[in-house]
Symmetry: C2
Subunit: 456 residues, 2 copies
């Protein structure tokens, strides 16, 4: 964790500079990157309970850095800082922020403060902010920025170049340019690279790419991120339902979405609800709620295993040795099934597995799971002989193959079924798959045992 | 899966164009993006067993597109295509490829072919390829490209701009420029945006950023990707141990690494080894091997649960009703523990959780797990009363709290312990955690049962 240690050191330096009448602050502060500074601020607020130092340091930053650092802070911390800043200076920071970060921050404020700020904004700014704030979370609209470079159709290359130079200080990226027609519709795109090597007198319309990959403003953010990743884009343009350009989603925000979605899927895979923050910071009560729902549901699902066992109580009472192999058999089935489910869930999430691949994958799983079951049966058979003789060994080995095969197929199919009925395939979490297989495993095992052992 | 359907349609169009003496091929082919075309090629090879069509289509592509499409193909398919291309035309395709994709392809070839190709290359190209091929997989060197724009220190802004224009066609990105001194050492960096708004006569040394974030060539790729994501970079420069610039890792390759690592962690979390390809394409034998190792190990680990049960055989025989609650209790502990482990593993992977947070997180887990255990005990207690009376209910409820608490703490601590001894925290997979908790749960449950029920 050298990054962590580095941040600790930088924090100490900052604090000591503050303590010494801000002596070296002018040397220390400019060297820190905004994202690092924001993490130091978070630590100061949370662990050292030292909001005053944060506010003092914040005051020392030039306006642009203030906007950047504030943008990187997580919601809770943003609020604490913002609540200590008067409207006037908050307004100038907001103006300096990227439009996507501005709207995220704005959405955190209470209605009174929102109203107050909006009243003091220029009309166009106010409209833009209101519009940006209206998009639903998790959509393209919510992660896009409106700070893109738009080139009106009909411009020459040199005019466009001039436009790029003018917009450069404010735009999120100047490297991908968007050509719009007189109605604001997206007509094409070209890269700054193309522009630089083009003849200055040429029309942008003649060199632009007409077949633009774009997304609709209410497209889910996963899909947007996937497009950016697939086509190696710097940014993807976002259009409204009338094909008018309304924003762009840049590669760095797309990468954040990829990470966020992966984390969410990880948690879902273990039956944990969506956390609004990192595990070390999310409130305890929230963490409890996100974990308890499925756990309690699974308690009741596990009752089926218990019921199965109760049903076979006579078989068990006659051969208590059978219980020895119970955790092992249902555990193995659960493990193999959870593997199969995870392979499908992740494959679907990355686009590697589609619904149409179902048949082919079923055949493959059948073969792999059969081989796995046989291997594990071979591993467990000698122990069966040792503990309960040949008949028990036969029961255990047969059950192992059957349970592993059944578990794997169930685990493999569940994500497809869930997808089919419109649920997130990731709901086929390991605990759910394992619990289902546990109950089925009890039935399979004791059915086989009753049948076989009755014959002896 | 509209993307899949789209690809299917495009494939049909291509095939029918091929069949009609390539009539519309000139219209259809240019409209397809390289990555889509590569997927269509893969489908044609794998599902339709139609390599000849692929080769025919490949021949129709202009050189640059050929290089792009080949670069996007997965290893296996690359090999099949490349084996059908004579050295001469392969050489020109290789020359056209990005240096990172070129070396990946080159590494797949057999020694004879490598030798033959190297002999026909220009000296500088050969040296570059050999050097790039020498970096170990999974390091910065293996994912970087050597096609960056280097600006010699001392150049003016207008000279640098000229250099950018010259290099534009070949460079992977022209938007971030790297200033190197006379020994090839990385002296600073500046963006094209900075260059565009600077005074033409200014020296690049005066406007560049001196404090460059860079990585050493043998840095692990996860760390490289994390830096790109954290600092929202277009590319991160890669230096050798003498601080000489040797390449850059671009944002799109960093995003691929983030996805790849997430997939790997997903699989690890379910005790699946690292797959060399997507689950729908990896050979069956390989899939079997990646899954069987842990499954068999866990069979033996599960024997401890069995041994625990055997040890308490008398208690069980006296109160067969206890077996009813066994799957439920150890299942619940396993689920809670797997949740706790996953939260830590993912937190560590994203950098949200550091080793230093251990104490704080332990305290949090203690409280959350306690609350979870109590809730689940309350849920299960009435069933205990129904099935076995008050004494059994008390045993079951007490066991539930104890097992959930113990399981959660074990699940939470295991990733830290593994990290401490130098293992990947992701080895604390759900199946491993669950199996460990199963065995402990058996002991806890029956110990409590023996103690309490002996009193009645």
């Amino acid at each position: 964790m050298s990054l962590n240690e580095q941040l600790q050191e930088q924090k100490e330096t900052l604090l000591s500079a503050l303590a010494q009448q801000r002596e070296n602050l002018d040397e220390v502060l400019p060297e820190l990157r905004a994202v690092d500074l924001s993490e130091i601020f978070q630590e100061l607020i949370e662990e050292d309970d030292d909001l005053p130092s944060v506010l003092e340091l914040f005051e020392c930053l030039p306006l642009e850095r203030r906007a950047n650092v504030l943008g990187y802070l997580l919601g809770d911390f943003q609020l604490q800082v913002v609540q200590a800043i008067p409207d006037g200076s908050l307004l100038s920071v907001l103006e300096e922020m990227g439009s996507d970060e501005r709207v995220d921050l704005f959405n955190l404020l209470d209605e009174d403060r929102k109203e107050g700020l909006l009243r003091r904004m220029a009309r166009q700014e106010r409209e833009d902010l209101k519009r940006m704030a209206s998009y639903e979370e998790g959509t393209a609209g919510a992660i896009m920025t409106s700070d893109y470079v738009a080139i009106p159709s009909g411009m020459t290359v040199s005019q466009a170049m001039m436009r790029v130079r003018q917009t450069a200080p404010d735009a999120e990226t100047v490297y991908q340019l968007y050509v719009i027609d007189s109605q604001g519709k997206l007509a094409g795109t070209l890269s700054l690279r193309q522009l630089m090597v083009a003849r200055p007198g040429a029309k942008v319309d003649d060199i632009m790419i007409n077949d633009v990959i774009s997304v609709i403003v209410d497209e889910v953010q996963e899909h947007v991120a996937r497009l950016v990743a697939r086509y190696d884009m710097l940014a993807v343009p976002v259009i409204d339902h009338d094909a008018r350009l309304v924003g762009i989603v840049t590669h760095d925000d797309a990468m954040d979405v990829v990470e966020e979605e992966a984390t969410e899927d990880f948690h879902k895979g273990m039956s944990i609800g969506q956390l609004e923050d990192g595990v070390s910071r999310v409130p305890l009560w929230s963490l409890y709620r996100k974990r308890v729902t499925w756990l309690v549901l699974l308690v009741f699902a596990n009752l089926f295993s218990g019921a199965g066992i109760a049903y076979f109580e006579d078989t068990i009472a006659a051969q208590v040795v059978l219980v020895f192999f119970l955790p092992l058999l249902i555990g193995s089935g659960g493990n193999a099934g959870a593997q199969a489910a995870t392979l499908m869930v992740r494959g679907m999430a990355t686009g590697d597995v589609g619904v149409k691949d179902w048949g082919k994958l079923l055949g493959r799983e059948l073969m792999v799971a059969g081989a796995l079951g046989l291997t594990m049966a071979l591993a467990v058979a000698p122990i069966g002989v040792m503990r309960g003789g040949e008949a028990v060994a036969m029961v255990v080995a047969t059950s192992m193959v059957t349970i592993v095969l059944f578990g794997s197929l169930l685990g493999m199919c569940l994500p497809f079924i869930l997808n089919r009925v419109g649920w997130d395939p990731a709901t086929a979490s390991a605990p759910l798959v394992t619990t289902l297989i546990d109950a089925s495993g009890v039935l399979i095992y004791f059915s086989i045992a009753t049948a076989v052992l009755a014959g002896f």
